[in-house]
């Protein structure tokens, strides 16, 4: 074993844990499938900095700020960077963890005693009628195109769903000179009375974040972009691609013409890898997602496997960075590395800061709950895009006594396609819970098997020679 610790993911969480460990004297390797550091939030930050282009300006200060984090990590000599390398297999043994990697066309196997997963989040799949049409995409997806390639939607793009990302992205578009056709907001316009208490609790120390949100919204209003609150149903229409969107609000149907419908229903942890590694998971009912169960140090139920950042539960980039520092100290402790005095004082501050962020997150979560319409798709809505399985089929087999999502996968092929159930896993569990009347916790989730990322048979076969 050539490294003390392998870190999967070079977003805020992974960069922070790797820097912390390197500073403590550990030998670390960071693996990311992207060709550069930054993760989702700071995607392609280095690339656009090199070009010195306008795009950075359009994306805003927060995005530009990520460069400092990346540069400070890159100064650490003890970090070995493996970009454009994806992790497609994970296997936990008693005293080490083995990973299968692909870089270019070459597959390899690596192992270490400690592995930190900082593989981030994904946008929550939001099934609705017509969502398989080309031209329906995630808001995060469009933002990725913006950051990575400087692509912007054409005027008239419709943004739908809920959460702060809706407002942030609309602002980024306005900066780039793009006028969205409409914002179909699933959230209510004002904070509801029942959320006022958590709001006052976070109001003061999270004032910057809250003000930022208000500023985004008022800019949308000032620009005269139709911003409709309290939308509760969506349908994309078109023959071979999106031509328009129908939506319902207050019991009335309306429509917009558009060739691009961007949808966002929050993000959820990317648990594909922790499930494959055999870790225990908990169901977070309020946010409707699975998260790996962690001990107070950040370690999963598998010895030597740690998780930081959004793949441990959605807390945002700042929290990911703090968690990274905390877990770095905990692993350094296990490796018998000394921790300096400055680090020890930082530890106290980190815990306090994390608490504040948790309170802010609680408010955001209450204000932007997952939309009901995506959780209860109509019978004819496709929920497994890969195998074209509808919600109705899942309900039908659930009525036949099919025990849970894994049997449902066997019976219907939902979750057997190329995405391996990333897209339909939550929907299938939810539908089975709906029919059986059981809690999702009891119903359970898909099991995940190799490969976690694409690998060809000849790449796999080449491992025979190693």
């Amino acid at each position: 074993m050539t490294h003390d610790v392998l870190v999967i993911g070079a977003g805020p969480g992974g960069l922070s844990v790797a820097s912390g460990l390197a500073r403590a004297g550990a030998c670390v390797q960071v693996i990311d499938e992207q060709p550069y550091a930054g993760g989702q939030i700071f995607r392609a930050s280095e690339k656009s900095a090199r070009a010195g282009n306008e795009i950075r300006g359009w994306l805003g200060e927060e995005y530009s700020g990520g460069l400092d984090l990346i540069r400070s990590a890159k100064r650490q000599e003890r970090i070995d960077w493996q970009f454009a390398t994806s992790v497609w297999d994970i296997r936990c043994e008693d005293d080490h963890i083995e990973l299968g990697l692909v870089h270019g066309e070459t597959a390899s196997i690596t192992q270490a005693r400690h592995v930190v997963l900082a593989s981030g989040a994904m946008e929550r799949p939001a099934p609705f009628k017509g969502w398989t049409l080309p031209g329906v995409m995630g808001i995060g997806a469009a933002q990725t195109l913006f950051k990575d390639a400087g692509l912007v939607p054409e005027n008239g793009v419709v943004l739908a769903g809920s959460g702060p990302l809706l407002y942030l992205f609309a602002n980024q578009l306005l900066s780039a000179g793009v006028r969205p056709g409409a914002i179909l907001d699933f959230a209510a316009k004002w904070v509801s009375a029942q959320h006022l208490v958590p709001l006052t609790r976070v109001a003061w120390h999270s004032r910057t974040a809250l003000l930022k949100g208000l500023k985004w919204r008022s800019r949308i209003a000032r620009a005269g972009i139709p911003h409709l609150f309290g939308v509760d149903e969506l349908e994309a229409v078109g023959k071979d691609e999106v031509q328009g969107v129908h939506y319902r609000k207050g019991g009335q149907s309306h429509q917009f013409e558009t060739s691009l419908l961007l949808v966002h229903d929050g993000v959820i942890p990317n648990t594909h890898m922790t499930v494959a590694a055999g870790c225990d998971h908990n169901w977070l009912a309020q946010q409707q997602y699975w998260q790996p169960g962690l001990n107070d140090k950040g370690q999963t139920s598998q010895q030597g496997l740690w998780v930081v950042g959004d793949c441990a539960g959605i807390m945002g980039a700042e929290a990911a960075e703090i968690q990274g520092r905390i877990v770095a100290r905990n692993i350094a402790g296990k490796l018998g590395l000394a921790i300096g005095k400055a680090e020890a004082t930082q530890a106290q501050k980190d815990l306090a800061e994390l608490k504040k962020l948790a309170a802010l997150r609680q408010f955001i979560d209450l204000q932007y709950p997952p939309a009901k319409t995506f959780a209860t798709p109509a019978d004819d809505t496709v929920i497994c895009r890969c195998e074209a399985v509808t919600a109705g089929e899942i309900r039908e087999i659930a009525q036949l006594g099919c025990q849970g999502p894994n049997q449902a996968r066997a019976f219907t092929r939902a979750g057997m396609g190329p995405c391996m159930g990333r897209g339909c896993g939550l929907s299938v569990s939810r539908l089975m819970a709906e029919v059986s009347g059981n809690d999702i916790e009891q119903v359970g989730h898909y099991s995940t098997r190799t490969p976690l990322k694409p690998v060809t048979l000849s790449q796999l076969a080449s491992l025979n020679d190693t």
Binding site: D89, R91, E98, G100, I109, G278, I397, L400, G401, C402, Q403, G404, P405, N406, Q407, A410, F411, R413, M416, P418, M420, V443, G444, S447, R449, T450, P451, P454, V455, T456, L457, S458, L460, A461, S462, L463, N464
Partner: protein, 368 residues
Amino acid sequence: MADYDVAIVGGGLLGSAFGWGLARAGARCVVFDEGDNAIRTARGNFGLVWVQGKGQNMPAYASWSLRASRLWGDFATELCEATGINLQYVKGGYDIAADEQELEQTIAGLKKIQAQMGGAAYDFEVLDHKVLKSEIPLVGNIPGATYTEHDGHCNPLLLLRALHQDMQAKGALYRPNCPVASVNPLSGGSYQLLDRSGNVLATAGKVIVSAGHGSRRLNEPLGIDLPIRADQGQVLVTEKVAPVMKHASSSVRQTDNGSFLLGPSSKDVGHDTRTDLKTLAAIASRCITIFPFLGSLRLQRAWGALRVMTPDGNPVYQQSEAHPGVFSFACHSGVTLAAVHAFEVASWVTDGVIPAEFGVFHPRRFNV
């Protein structure tokens, strides 16, 4: 009177075939099954309806498999008519050899079965490279294959679904998430099935223990010996491909939806269903030799599943002497044998006796 004529423990391929066969014959029956994450071989197998290689050390098993294969077409048709589910059964199967040695072994094995069965009852062809290539143009530079009409393949997941669906339509009760902890003989000759807390789940005149790897635990307190172990098999499945081969081969087959199934391996690793890269790599290598185009395909998924393996690899069918209403059945090849399990074994249970000709399958054979 007992609640049911027959209670079946285990809703895998064995239990479901019995449940369907019994319900079809008009018996009142209930099938108990575990939850979603149970060890369920029925969900991890290769989908072959296969005779080759079966019973090389027990002629009765070879003829039993052959009988199953002959009934399979009717079995699939009947299930399809009842449920609308097409089991994708295709008759006829190859055994494609990756090298000369494999081919020789396969031919020797087939000749042995043929001798056991008395010639004409079991015919097969040997195809050299040229003939095979004319049938499947994409084969690589390999020596050839054998082919027999008696082998075939199906979609085993749809088989399980159809059995579950239709046994319920025919009146059987399916009880998922309902593990049986013990079987308790009652004085009048019937039986109670109890859960972990000792609650009575059902009473039944007869009980079939067909709980796969869970059977031993239920059998032991009843004094029934069931010598089985887990033999792990790993399987790979590729992305979907336009039609290349219609008939299965024992280690490579193309499914109805286009993907290729490769494998399965065989290894003793206890009750561990995880895959390992060395095993997967070995399967991939061998299959690329057979079909070079497989190399550029994306691996879609791989899994491990646990065969129910007896010491000689042949089935165990037994009726308890102390508790004659209790039957304990276990075997590998539950897909192949599903047809005989449904059409024939189910009636052994209603008749209350295993016909003498099947005495060879009693596990007392391991004690001599």
